[in-house]
Amino acid sequence: MKYIDPHIHMVSRTIDDYQRMAQAGCVALTEPAFWAGFDRRSSEGFYDYFRQLTVVEPGRAAGYGIQHYCWLCINPKEAEDLSLAREVISLIPLFLERPNVLGIGEIGLNKNSKNELTILEEQIALASEYNELILVHTPHLEDKLKGTKLIMDAIKRNGNIDPGRVLIDHVEEHTVEIVLDQGFWAGMTLYPDTKCTPQRAVDILEMYGNERLWMNSAGDWGPSDPLSVPKACNEMARRGHTQAEIEKVSFKNPKTFLSQCSKFKVDG
């Protein structure tokens, strides 16, 4: 069964993971810019990272027949330093025309601070100016509910963003309804310890429906599983959901959202 992993950090994964994902049916993935596990000291570090996302990773993915797309931004964990963040934002337009860049992401909040919010608003404005799709990171654990509300308020304050062109990621049982009710797309991240397990993700689908929802692994350098999307598909099958329902969440929904950027092409 073919699927799309719409949020995974392949810079953190070995080539074996591309191979295993291809064998499991992954035909395309999208990789948002994120925190490297340490704070970079200058914007040059981000320039090189953006080259890695737009040149190096597409080549690695192509070796296994997977189409690689990406999102660019300064992530909220490095947004506290306003001058560095603004230098990085000034680099982003240099890369937006690259063939695998789908939009701005994963922007959002981490600790819900004033500076994080300022940089979020500036990147929402950048997306508006260049008519780019937006992929949103919502905060972790106890900060998620508050952060999700602050992020949605910031997007609405901009006034020029269609919520149907924004995916708010890492939703859980306490945030999925408010995200969908406001017209945004929602992403469920499948993690072993935090965010959603595959079982809870399928529970959420059963409670809130399968419209404007996708599932992703967000595989990165922490505890995570690059095969968690096919595992969630197996969980759906185990409960008796149809192949059509499985395909909708794991392939058709991400394809529909991502195809709002004309660069995104995937067969099927």
Binding site: K77, E80, N110, K111, N112, S113, K114, N115, E116, L117, P139, H140, L141, E142, D143, K144, L145, K146, K149, L150, E172, E173, H174, Q199, R200, D203, L205, E206, G209, N210, R238, R239, G240, H241, E245
Partner: protein, 100 residues
Amino acid sequence: MSCPITRERVVELYYLEHRAKLLDIAAFLDRLDRARPGDETASEEDFRIRSLREALKILSENEPGRARRVLELFSDPSMEPLESAAGLKGAFGTYPGGDS
């Protein structure tokens, strides 16, 4: 979408797995009791354990939406942005109270 399988099938598929998870929580609380206090002067239980005990009460409720209510219990209830996130990266897993 609803859950296509019967309640009996849900029990068959998931009971043992969740029985084991419940025992993990019980054993964790026992381990906590056996452990030596790190700070002999500490009079209050760690805020995370207090919150876990509150969450366990929610599991015994007969209303649906338990997962959502547990997550809401763990969440920061404020709406004012934090003054600064300098030096802060991670999260605790539950709201410690006071200034977020």
